[in-house]
Symmetry: C4
Subunit: 241 residues, 4 copies
């Protein structure tokens, strides 16, 4: 019985049409409950009308996953049930449900967005990206810390050199550094003094290289991950034939 429930909540195998239906039901409910957030001035009734059944369904799904978590961990220990609420996806699920249970302040409505986390379980692309971040964790952390340090120091130099009118507080300098070094450059904040422009120029020329590194590493990691998946697919094919 519990095993059947587990196969229901898990991503459906090819020939399990009930589980397949359940998967799409959960995905559909998650997306549907996000839709009202894409419009200003949605009448209260419509929101509630969508929200009530969705939240019950998502809460039901949360409970089912908790109830069958020992199968997922392939363990018979009772600890599985204690650990479940602390797994990242379970935390995301809970945060997506809470705002509508009235347990959180009204301004936390945005937390409903965590419901999109449900889709991660069903999307292979998301899992691949997740794997890239897991496998390249060390490299990415190293590169990311350099990038953030570079942004921080550029911001600090600019903040100290420019007059207070341009960068009233340090946050503005950080914002400038981030938009400049990722080359977005909205043009809402930029240096006006000669010295500030020189700092901006030097910072850009070197910074482009530093900030481009995470991009290169993620792309390389993702292509590797894809190749691995294709090879596994081929091997499976070979075994079958």
């Amino acid at each position: 019985m519990r095993k059947k429930l587990y196969s229901l909540v898990e991503k459906a195998e090819k020939n399990n049409s009930i589980s397949f239906f359940y998967d799409w039901l959960i995905m559909g409910a998650s997306i549907l409950s996000i839709l009202p957030m894409m419009f200003r001035d949605v009448p209260q009734e419509v929101t509630e009308w969508i929200e009530t059944p969705t939240v019950y369904l998502l809460f039901f799904d949360y409970m089912l996953r908790w109830f069958t978590h020992d199968y997922r961990r392939k363990s018979t220990s009772k600890w599985s049930f204690v650990l479940y609420p602390f797994t990242p996806l379970a935390i995301m699920d809970l945060m997506g449900i809470l705002p509508s249970l009235g347990l959180l302040h009204g301004s936390f409505k945005a937390f409903r967005l965590f419901r999109l986390g449900k889709l991660i379980r069903y999307s292979k692309s998301c899992q691949r990206i997740g794997n890239v971040f897991k496998n390249q964790k060390k490299t990415l952390l190293s590169v990311l810390s350099i990038a953030i340090a570079y942004i921080f120091i550029s911001a600090l130099i600019m903040f100290v050199s420019e007059p207070p009118e341009n960068f009233p507080n340090f946050f503005d300098a950080l914002y400038w550094a981030t938009t400049a070094l990722t080359t977005v450059g909205y043009g809402d904040i930029y240096p006006s003094t000669q010295l500030g422009k020189v700092i901006s120029m030097i910072s850009s020329i070197f910074g482009v290289a530093v900030i481009a590194m995470p991009a290169g590493i993620v792309t390389a990691g993702f292509l590797e991950e894809l190749n691995k998946d294709f090879h596994e697919g081929e091997e499976k094919h070979d075994e079958e034939s």
Copy 2:
């Protein structure tokens, strides 16, 4: 007879000067009929004077290709003739002709741009790019879906967090997310609150990596495609000598 017509409409072999002339005629007519679109206030007569012979010619070409489509598909089945109007290039050809036949509303004039699709048949670079998209379809779809999902979620978070004045509707948020994450950053729309700026910064740092992935994959695929072409060329050369 029909075979000769087929070799006429196809890209010319080296020694077939009539087919060569025909190719240039079609290309020339396609480009010529686009030229008036590059100017505002072209007198009506000039447009008509260019449009009339072009459309007849393009329609004639469309018919010829339909009439000889069984050769292209290397099949003798009558189905070739039924399938032709549903091939992508044939649909583009038809959409390029329709506006001038008066069968479509005036605001569909822009459809004439589809006539440039004619050039795809004759340009090797375009065919290579087409091959890249065909060969890397799975990878590109996977990466593109991640990129679009990332843009969507960034837009949604920003839309929910910023006051209505900055992002009146969800489309504006999507537009902001796209211009920010592709690092274009026109500066016509950007967050103004502290929270919005923080979201923008985090979104940019991670987003640059996500959005750069399609670029890396297309470049790698295109270089592979070019190498393959060069090797084929060399092999041909070897066989001949």
Copy 3:
């Protein structure tokens, strides 16, 4: 005698101090004569004072190179002397001299910038970049033609869809497309209608990949070129020892 002159104008060997002095003289004169262009309102006398000796020197250099061109081409044929004025570097040299000879209209003063072409002969980095463009010519032309076609078509679609106020003429549309697809995005020109924004978004997402291709190819080609140079250097070293 003529052979000695040739070794004088060529890039100096390690132990030829006269040729070495001559090289630096020419480089210095080229750069010096450019300097007044970096300031507005340079008094006429200063410009003339710098211009007169420089132009005589550069003209003298031009003549010397012509006079010894048969050594460069390693040919004894008289044709070398006829061909010289049509080599790319000779054309650049001539264009750099002409404005000061009073033979060209005043607004062609900017042609003096061609004098910087002199430096190409002496800079190894410039020669490497030149080699990349020579070796990857086919690939780069193919990629560049796609990039330019993409910019052109994006501009045309935008020009046809947006109201005349935003894009008064086709050139503005081309300018928009170039700044958007190279992700510069100054913010001086951008679409204002819903449709224009959608076109801009789609165009950006795909365009970033297309425009990034030349960058990837040039970088790969340049690294290859550098490796080749290092290996040659090592081999030379091995032979000597």
Copy 4:
């Protein structure tokens, strides 16, 4: 005794808890003394209260490192002590201390930022980046000189072609070229004439490739450096087991 002091100032081995504490003390003091720079209008007393002990500590650290520099250089020669003040990190340390010793003019307060240089000694990521720049020095200098030359020439062409209102002096043209070619594009300065726009377009299309080269080389070098580190780690592991 001096050997013990040396192991104290050096990055701590795993089992040396006193040295470990000393490392964190120095890092903490460096960061703490930077914090007041991130706020405008910090009361004078607070700054002094933080500054006084920090500077004494950093000066003490500077002296300790000087006193034990022969161990670092693994040399018994007295020259070590003469050379120390001229090593790059020692210069940075001194520049970070000087402003607070009252030996430098008030506007050199920004020099306190050099205290962050202390962190380089303790961060492995920073050392890796340093190694990349050391190993790829030749390549990077070559690429960087091309990038800077390209920026310079683009700026010069633009400066000569545009009317004085847009680019009052050459520095503005340089600033434009840098922000355009690194694709930041704030939008505070851009060409307004037809000719200027054409120059900007051509410059962008080619420039993106040139400016992207350092990025590609740094990324490649950094990945290589990381791989080397991982392999060394594995080898160490193998030897131990």
